[in-house]
Subunit: 277 residues, 4 copies
């Protein structure tokens, strides 16, 4: 009976906890989210600074303490999430559920398995938790528009990527033939393809660069190509976006008399037949 | 009585001064603005040249004289602004009021505190005064459209920046694991994140570049990603802008009955009062 | 008679083969395409790895075996294509027909002519076969939209390229005059033009960079120019695309009387027959 | 009398010459233009190759002969233009008139003034003559649309450039303070501003790059800024262009019955009232 009572009084508390932790509509939920974001950013910063040799040498102890502080905080948070969520398995196997677990696991594993810097770097995935920010306010909708635009243009993106990859393979092979014998940078086709990607995307490290006149001529064409076809992904996103935004807008607002759509949000009369909207 | 007289004759002079200094509608105000812009650019150039060791060595004396000439000019201008403005406190605490003060203060402070090159560099903030140019003619409106478009798309920009930052943190950490042991450039996560930003934004200094095949492969993906997602900010601005411009456009077409503007090019009836257009 | 029988039973088998090899509407055809793409990618990878000295030294024998495996596979495929196609000459002289032949020829030629690494690199053109992927599903249409948009804007692209080429020639010559005497990078006009292209396209290798103040000033202008006029190809593609997409869009809205599509979203009467929509 | 006769028969010949040289509507005029473009490109190539030391050493004599061949060709062309043009002064002082003169003058001047490589490089301005290509076919219209779009957005471009210049001056000064004492690249403010331009425009030579953590942090912000605000010129051009294209399109086609515009080019009936167009 004690257990049932506890369960009873637990229900609303759990719901309220759920509201605070998983939602952002209440002030408490909003504050929780903001606090969480700050803690996440600080913990990511700690992991990053921990990898700097000079900082590690001087402040290593402090970073260690901070790291455990964040780990314990995230552990408590994870347990709370498990407690207040309706379907534990669904949460635990969801993307953010896994990220939440990955955020704390490496620190504990590090107690057992020593010296694995790979393990500690995994903690950087905490940064993914930042996307909980998108829960706040209007961000979900905006992220949705972005995702929809990307999804709608996925085929064009595949065509574009195919084209780019084919281009860099062929250009890389050509440059391997042209520059290969004399230039120490173009030693193999993969290396030349790497150069072609560096050039086509206008990154241009300069660690490998053509030396022969013919190589420089071909490189010039690649650069102008890269400079021009950057227009393609931009065009894809812009057009899709433009349409996604339009579709979202009140163009659905049809005139009840003549049936014509495309009315502005502030229109009171149909612009085609003059009837009330 | 003499004083009152002076005050009397001073009023319209002050108004006229205000017109010249703060506005650009009269020819005198226009010329004042153009002259001011030239002086500002010259003074910024002086500060810049003053930092070049060889020029400082040869023309240091001339630059010193010029600098004081500009300082006195700006001081006079600042006092005139204070005199002719209605609400002194409001002007003095406004953005441009502070910039105007910051433009002259370092030179005077330098008389008291010696050898502080930091202080002298502050004078470069004079360049901000150039934005008074936007007062001229149509520029205010254009700047307004730009600002409105940026404001309207602020949430998308936040989502985009979150995405980019998360990406560079994860990629940087991965590269730290892959290249770290062999490459002298990827010594810590912050350094690797810096490289990821240099690469994703297609800047590509080349001071740090991947050496291992796996590192180059990952770098290639980062480059193509950076090359593609540059489309996102472009798409955001273009779409917002397009709509901001459209909203601004058809204002010429006003309703003859109610006078309201903003009708579409294909509208036949006023959307506000329903009258024929 | 035996022969005729064989021929008889061969007909539908040939048609079915055609369906599998050349089309992607049947499950068998789809699977064939996917398998082909995998094999193509693997064979391209083999050619690329074969050019890496260290891999060639260790796994050269395996790569040789793999290479012949792919060559035989592609040869069988080529023969099957020749067998099941209606008009052999038309296929053999088509773009993909030639690519299919080029994909297998170098390996056989290499048996006769030795030591020609040029010959072996030609095999990389196999990557072009990947464009058969575009046959699958919606990709043909998307590629068509891309091609149409590029075709529609070909004149603007020519004007833009003329402008860019003129710009880099003039800037390159200017830099040759300015930097030439002191900078080891600007030894000739072609070299300086190469630098101008590297800079204008924002690639920026850094193997050649201006040293004199005047050269750096001019370079700054070139960079800002390059940063700005990248907007032109983007604008071209986006606008053309936007219109190509719009033209494609409202086809769903067909006239109930004459069946014609392509009506605007705000149309009330069919623009071809004048009937109510 | 002989003279008058010649003059008489000269008139139509002059008109015909004008048609061939200045216009591109007749087949002869088209062929003349194409031939001219080829000669211009070859002569520019000659000037460029002439500056390469190794080519000059081996083929100097041939280049000299070629150069004079082109000079004589252009001289004949220039004289013909002067002869057949109506208003000689107007042609001679027009942009292309001056370019035509500049294309031939350096070679003759070089006979008098020796050893001036500056003079010979001036000949590269011949490349500007290539813009006569825009006379052909549809190009004039396309170039006009480009020019109109740029002109319409000139104020936004000024605002954008002001913003960029202010940004690089302030960032450059900041980096001078941060990196100056330790980094050999940031020796003066102009040098640091140059670096800021190289970084903001995503060119990224890498000849100067930040070394301190704070400098790299600021550089990262500059890169992301540069990566994002490239959207602004693109947005400007795309939006202006989109509108310029729309304005050019048959939206002017108004319905004679209801007066509504915005009809497609293939519309036969008004989409709003159904009347014949």
């Amino acid at each position: 009976m004690n257990e049932r009572m506890e369960h009873k009084s637990n229900r609303p508390r759990r719901d309220r906890l759920y509201e605070i932790i998983f939602e952002a509509d209440t002030p408490a939920g909003k504050w929780f989210d903001i606090a969480l974001i700050v803690v996440i950013l600080l913990s990511v910063l700690t992991v990053m600074l921990d990898s700097v040799a000079s900082i590690q040498a001087r402040y290593g102890r402090w970073l260690y303490v901070l790291e455990w502080l964040f780990t314990i905080l995230f552990t408590v948070e994870y347990i709370l999430r498990l407690l207040c969520v309706g379907n534990i398995r669904r949460y635990a196997t969801s993307f953010f559920g896994i990220v939440d677990l990955v955020a704390i696991l490496p620190s504990y594993l590090n107690l057992v398995v020593f010296g694995t810097r790979y393990l500690l770097v995994v903690r950087i995935l905490r940064v993914l938790r930042i996307f909980r920010i998108l829960k706040l306010g209007q961000y979900t909708k905006e992220a949705g528009v972005l995702r929809a635009a990307l999804y709608a243009s996925r085929r064009r993106i595949v065509v574009f990527l195919c084209f780019v990859l084919t281009l860099v393979v062929i250009i890389g092979s050509l440059m391997y033939l042209i520059e290969g014998p004399t230039n120490s940078g173009f030693t193999s086709i993969p290396q030349s393809v790497y150069w072609a990607i560096v050039t086509l995307t206008t990154v241009g490290y300069g660690d490998i660069s053509p030396q022969t006149p013919l190589g420089q001529f071909l490189a010039s064409i690649v650069m102008i190509l890269g400079y021009s076809i950057i227009a393609v992904p931009t065009g894809i996103v812009t057009v899709e976006w433009s349409q996604a935004t339009m579709r979202k807008q009140p163009h659905a607002r049809a005139c009840p008399t003549c049936g014509a759509g495309g009315h502005d949000i502030d229109a009171r009369y149909c612009k085609f037949c003059g009837a009330d909207l």
